[in-house]
Subunit: 356 residues, 2 copies
Amino acid sequence: ADVKKIAVIAGDGIGPEVVGEALKVLKKTEELYGYQFETTHGLFGGIAIDEKGTPLPQETLDICKAADAVLLGAVGGPKWDNNSKELRPETGLLGIRKALGLFSNIRPANVFDCLKEASTLKPEVLEGTDLIVVRELTGGIYFGEKFRRQGAHGEEAVDTCVYNVVEVERIVRQGFEIARTRRKKLASVDKANVLETSRLWREVVNRIAPEYPDVELEHVLVDNCAMQLLRRPSSFDVIVTENMFGDIISDEAAMLTGSIGMLSSASLGEGAFGLYEPVHGSAPDIAGQGISNPIATILSVALMFRLTFGYHEAAQAIEDAVKSVLDAGHRTGDIAVDKSKAIGTTEMGDLIVAAI
Amino acid sequence: ADVKKIAVIAGDGIGPEVVGEALKVLKKTEELYGYQFETTHGLFGGIAIDEKGTPLPQETLDICKAADAVLLGAVGGPKWDNNSKELRPETGLLGIRKALGLFSNIRPANVFDCLKEASTLKPEVLEGTDLIVVRELTGGIYFGEKFRRQGAHGEEAVDTCVYNVVEVERIVRQGFEIARTRRKKLASVDKANVLETSRLWREVVNRIAPEYPDVELEHVLVDNCAMQLLRRPSSFDVIVTENMFGDIISDEAAMLTGSIGMLSSASLGEGAFGLYEPVHGSAPDIAGQGISNPIATILSVALMFRLTFGYHEAAQAIEDAVKSVLDAGHRTGDIAVDKSKAIGTTEMGDLIVAAI
Ligand SMILES: CC(C)[C@H](C(=O)O)[C@@H](O)C(=O)O
Ligand SMILES: CC(C)[C@H](C(=O)O)[C@@H](O)C(=O)O
């Protein structure tokens, strides 16, 4: 049989809890659809710093490389916030992206009808909002040379933002390809009136655009994009942008949907391999209380099914199950209007598993 | 008598129209308060490209340098968008900031009660929102070395982000000082988990903070800031950040107030000299029709009175006049609910002048 290998990295804070529920979902689909998953667990982030002295142990990287996909919970927490750079969870995150060649971060931001009220935006503005931010993930100022030096005015710090045409082209193509499967609109976000990397970015976009005559392209300056997301969120379909801008814009987009506890993401490289994780963080303040919301992680499994395994039917079944449980009124504390009626992490997981 | 010299740079698009109304306000305050203003006009932006072959003619720079303050309308438009870098209006904007040493951009984002409905945010979320973004304006990736080169994967572009301790310290101090005059809360926005310049930034903030024990300091990562602005806008008082992050965050903040047509900004250096301009752009699509909203430019005069001239009474009178005209229901097209009742640029200017 076709055994799929999944590297499971629970991480820190609520990571282990929410991943636990996602694993139940995996198991249920094995029973229902005859899939076979082989899961291997790896240490990553803060817990790996504590137990192995590094946020990304070689062993964890090996487990990921041997797998078809990675399921990640969340990493980080105040305990490690003041560590030196090498001993911080984020360094592991940047390391794993680079080591696995995950140059493309796919962040859907859509509105769950039953959660529309959770947004701080007016419902009529939000209506129909369903966008995907495609963020370049292994280049730009995140990975360019960084250093300190003595200058004429004392100490100075330097970050370098570098992009080559190959890096830009592959992510921009992905943006066009994804737009093609959706509403056929692509917004390319840059700061071409100031940055050289953005001018290169825009040149590449304009060079490639004629190959996608069916996709309507617009160039949006990043500052304007931050505004337009607020003014007309539903007019965006796919947004493609570089690493730093994508970090900011994707978080803004996620928050405006009001569904931040529900959103999943995929980080992809060449081929079908991908790393899947919820958009929310490790929420150390509520970790271990059994009250965290496992839906984003469960939906990350659905995304994994679609993008890495091609298990579309099961992906749909998971997404439908989530919807039906929400429609039935079940809520974890983060999304409950009446907090006294909130259910716990495992209860939510069980309900979704039962509904699949 | 104490004659104040004001360099007036109308610029492109609606710039000349809105500046025209602001000049009427200046004149009215001369009559009422006995002030004396000497205005000198300079070409800048697209119009300077057309007439002088450069967005920032030396003559204009000289006029600004000889003045106590600069009043700027707006620059740019599609006509110049595809020009080479040296012949673009934005290049003039960056040039004037650098040449005049305007390292600090002050961008208030507050809600006009009568315009609360114009925001896409829910009124109850917006309630009480009144923040100022203090953006570093002459450093960072905007002004670092930029170039193209051939790399292993073809052409590549490079931008360099540089900050020294002096640059960070002076803007951070300004943030603390402004916070001190307000609700005494400062949010310092960086990306210290990734960028070396942000780590330097945070070090400087933490070193200076003990000098301002009365100001409550929080460090916010830029991606999180983009989210928190949406979730809890009224909890921010002063936000201080570097150039690129400030560009994005200040526009997001402006848009969420729903008052983008009403917001003014100041760009300051050492001493009292300042450049004042509306936050909105040159709006080429409505230029010349006499329908643009002059309020942001008129409020820029009030800001000039406060920050450069210390004319607080007149500043207050201008702000009160704007408020009373709005409270009386007068609206230009951009802020009118019933567009058929909208008044024109000069009508709005006249009403405000009469109300001072
Ligand atoms: C933790 C941090 C390094 C990371 C990033 O900036 O990429 C996070 O914000 C994200 O978006 O995944
Ligand atoms: C036009 C552009 C160069 C400028 C900037 O990015 O600083 C503008 O967006 C602004 O915020 O004043």
